[in-house]
Structure formats: structure tokens, C-alpha cells
Symmetry: C2
Subunit: 312 residues, 2 copies
Amino acid sequence: MTTRSPILIVGSVAFDDLELPSGTFKDTVGGSATYAAFAASTFSEVRVVAVVGDDFPQDVLAVMETRGIVTKGIERVSGKTFRWAGRYDADLASRTTLDTQLNVFADFKPKIREEQRGTPLVLLGNIHPTLQSDVLDAMSGPDLVVADTMNFWITGESEKLGKLLARAHVLIINDEEARQLSGIHNIRRAAADICKRGPHTLIVKRGEHGALLFDETGIFAVPGYPLEEVVDPTGAGDSFAGGFIGYLATHLGRGAKLQPAERARLMRTAMLYGTATASRCVEGVGTSRIQTLVSGDVDARVAQIRSLFELP
Amino acid sequence: MTTRSPILIVGSVAFDDLELPSGTFKDTVGGSATYAAFAASTFSEVRVVAVVGDDFPQDVLAVMETRGIVTKGIERVSGKTFRWAGRYDADLASRTTLDTQLNVFADFKPKIREEQRGTPLVLLGNIHPTLQSDVLDAMSGPDLVVADTMNFWITGESEKLGKLLARAHVLIINDEEARQLSGIHNIRRAAADICKRGPHTLIVKRGEHGALLFDETGIFAVPGYPLEEVVDPTGAGDSFAGGFIGYLATHLGRGAKLQPAERARLMRTAMLYGTATASRCVEGVGTSRIQTLVSGDVDARVAQIRSLFELP
């Protein structure tokens, strides 16, 4: 298909200070919406809804625009941009948050511009579930809603998260979050429980071990691609979500009504693309790799991932 | 093919006291050779080399014999059988060793019977690497040597383990052991390092996340099968090894000389069978499930695992 539906992405745009085994990198551009937008822009037009302070450089927005990312929805307000600082251990297996300054992100209220209300695909990054619902209220019935969340909202805002889940088609979380959300340790029964709350598809991310997809037709597993060198794991999860919804944007037209089998195949293939996009992201520091990604890079990695589970 | 080559399995036969969420089970029969032998006996004739004390019940050996397991090589000596006691946490995610009594296993010296010297496939369970080498010295050049080991020998007997590795065709270890053995955290580079020491194939077990295979032709990944209920994880790794070598026994004739591509395909398919066999093992307490396993059970699980990575 030659469909290229636009994608609305809501989330954070930030400055990250990264302490990596390869060196310390100050003031790199990060945030969930940034990574997801760069990832998705490899596939289709992306419209970002976020907030930055008056310290945020205009030239980063210009780089986004050259990738087909519409930055009109990135509100600039007085104050400082969200800032995160983290240190990775020597083998990149774990990280410690050194500092979090919400700054202007603390009062973020996503504003959907009139011309963006009809965007058919929406990726709701990890923000307060009420704000995620507000975004959907402002939209004119998107065809596909993909949501992310985290333990903080699962434990603190379970009722509001429940309302959001009832309106999401796809939920992307990690295995610990799936266990926490359902209160069930067994991942298969946890998934069945979560899918009863709304999403037709649940994707459980498992870091280097890849990801599992659960839907009414069954289970699909994509292994993580064992890279010879991981440079910086920051943004891998957001790049996965961006690559996932990006692939779908090239296959879902406006008003798409899919049969379960057709949907199952699309979602599974999108998971391959999400995994490939994430594994490209971690090849460079910060957004350096994801912001220069072309579809050939993703296609080549998809082929490498497929070879992991094809019998010769 | 209708080949059914016999398999020699060396390892421990033990009594296990298991504290599981579902209850406490005393004096269950366990041990690496027991699990691997029951697993492999689903595929072909198995010859066990092990030691038990005079407290070991004859009827357990009789059960083995009904499965085509030759127990003549299980030496009975004066004293008590190896005993292990462990407690699993509520979600079976981790376990604590409560007691280990080596008993007669402390002085175990595998003795290869004259009629077993020519056995074409050998599985060397996790015992002292010098004893593993002694077994190979006593054999008349087996076609396939699959070895297991553990962190205890990796750190304490690295030189002797090095000599054993030079004679093994396949090494099966977990990811932590692979990192420890190579001194390299990145699993892909760790695998490349280990394969330079002898084995043409390295299998890295990752528990519920499945396993990775590395050889000169590339990498193969098999996801763990997400069961709705795991009853007892004890023996999963040994059942994996037993199912793996069992499958190969049905495809490798005496004196088999395989081309790399043919070998790669066989090893990958064997990994699917190992994974399937292990996932059957954990459906019951101790050896209860693995000792009644029939090939149809394994084939059905292989099909379920394959469906995890097939696009509909």
C-alpha cells in the first residue's frame, strides 16, 4: 500500500544529561515524544504535541521539520524545558536517575490544534492518564490509539488509567508494569486480564529479550536483536512505539475497519518494525542515530531480526 | 529419517525436597541426569551413567527402564543418595537452596561400560570438568558431545574446563555463565569468544525468555513458551538439554559428517524441541510430567512455539 496516514504524538520533549561508559553527554535532546517522533518520521508525517521552555533551541525544531515532523503543536512557554539526568553502569544493564526537573512539563496541558483533530493515528506517551483522555476528547475519533503508561500512574491513578484503557486500542508496557496493572504474575494471564479492560492488543516489552504481543488470535514473540555494540539505551522504548505506529501509518487508511486476522498480521509486522527501530536507536548517543534513520536502515534490521527465527 | 541413535547421559541422580507454592514435596526423584534422561527417552534409547546410594528405590530404575533408559550404568554404592532441598518464591521467579548433601555423589567417578563406549551421542551434565574429560577419554570418539557446566567450575576450574571445551561440540549454559566464562558482557561477543575455544555451537539459556543459539552461520532465537501455569521449574534446563540431544539422536546416524548449513538447521530445530520439552517438564511437580512424556506432547508444543513467531 502507499498509504501514509499522519500520526499525532503526545509526550515529553526534554534535555537529557547522559553518563555513559563511552563518556558524558550534557544537554542532549531527549524526551518520549522526541524519540517516538524521530522514529515514526521514518515512515510518515508526525504531529508532535508537547511543551518546551524558552531555553529550547529553535534549530532542533528545524531538524524535526526536515524529517516531516510538524512542530506547531510544540508549545513554547516561559521557563525551563524538562530535564533528566541519568548514569548507566559499565555494561549498560541498569541505570540510575541522578536528577529530574519537570520545569514547564509540570503544568503541561496538551492542546490539540484544530487542523490536527482529525489525525487518524495517535500515540499517547507516558503522561497523566487524565491528560491522555483529554487528548482523545479533543480528537474526532482516531482510528488507532496506542498508549504508553508507567508504574507511577498504575499505582497512583488506577481509576483514571482504567478510563483511558477503555479507549485505547493498543497498550505498550513492560513486563513489570503488566504484572502491576493486572495484579497477576503469570504474564499470559496478566495479558488476558488487561485486554479485558479495553485494548485489543497488548505489547509487553522485555528490553534485550524483545517483546511479546497478545491479542484475541494468540501470542506473538519478537526476540531482541543481539547487537555487537549498544551505545546508549536511552529512548529505546519510545523508539519502539514510534516505529510500531509508524509502520501502521503506512498501512492504515482513514476510517480503516480491519478484520481480526488482518489486524493481527498488521500488528505483528508492526512489532517487528518497532523492534528494528529501537535496535537502531541504541546504536548512537541520544537521538543521534534515530534522527538520521532512513527506511532502508529499518528494513535491513527487520530482515536481520527475521533471520533470528527462520530455519535455514 | 528413522535413525534412532543411542545417547549416553552423565550427571546426577538425586532426591529433591521441593517447597513450591502448591505444596511441599519430600523425597521426589531429581538430578540432572534423571531429568535429561526422561526428556531424551521420548526420542531414543538413553544410557545413564550416575551413582546412587543404597537408599535409592529400585522401582524408580524400573520406571526408567520402561522408558527405554538403560540403568546398568547407574552405580549403586554404600551410603546415601545426593540430596537437594529448595524453596521457590510465590511466583516461581526465584528459588533458595535450603540444603545440599552430596553424599555418594561427592566421590562420583563415571565408569563407562564396555558396551557403551561406542555410543554416538553424549550429554555431559554439570560435573567436574576433569570427570567430563575422563568420560570422553573412555569413549571411542562420539559423533556429538553436548556439555553443560556452571559458574562454580568456570571460576574454580577454568583451565580444566578449557580442555573440556576444546572437545565439546555444543555447550549449553545460561547468559550469566556465558558472560562469566568469556569475561565479556555483550552476549554476542561473549558467544564469539566461547566458540573460539572449541564448541561449534553455543546455546545460551535465558529461562522464561527462551534461548539463543550461536554458530558460524549466525544466530537463532527461540522464545520461551508463555504457559498459563508453571507448576515447578525444577529440571527445566536439564530437560532442555535432554530434548535437544534427543531430537538430534533421531537425525544423526553413526559417523555423521554434516555440512555447516545442514548442521545449522538440525541444531536450530533441536533447540525448538529442547524448548518444547522443557516447557512440558515445568507443567508437573518434579519428574511427574517429563517421565510420562510422549512425542505427541512435544510435537504439539513445538507447533505452539512456532506459532509464536509465525505471521498469520
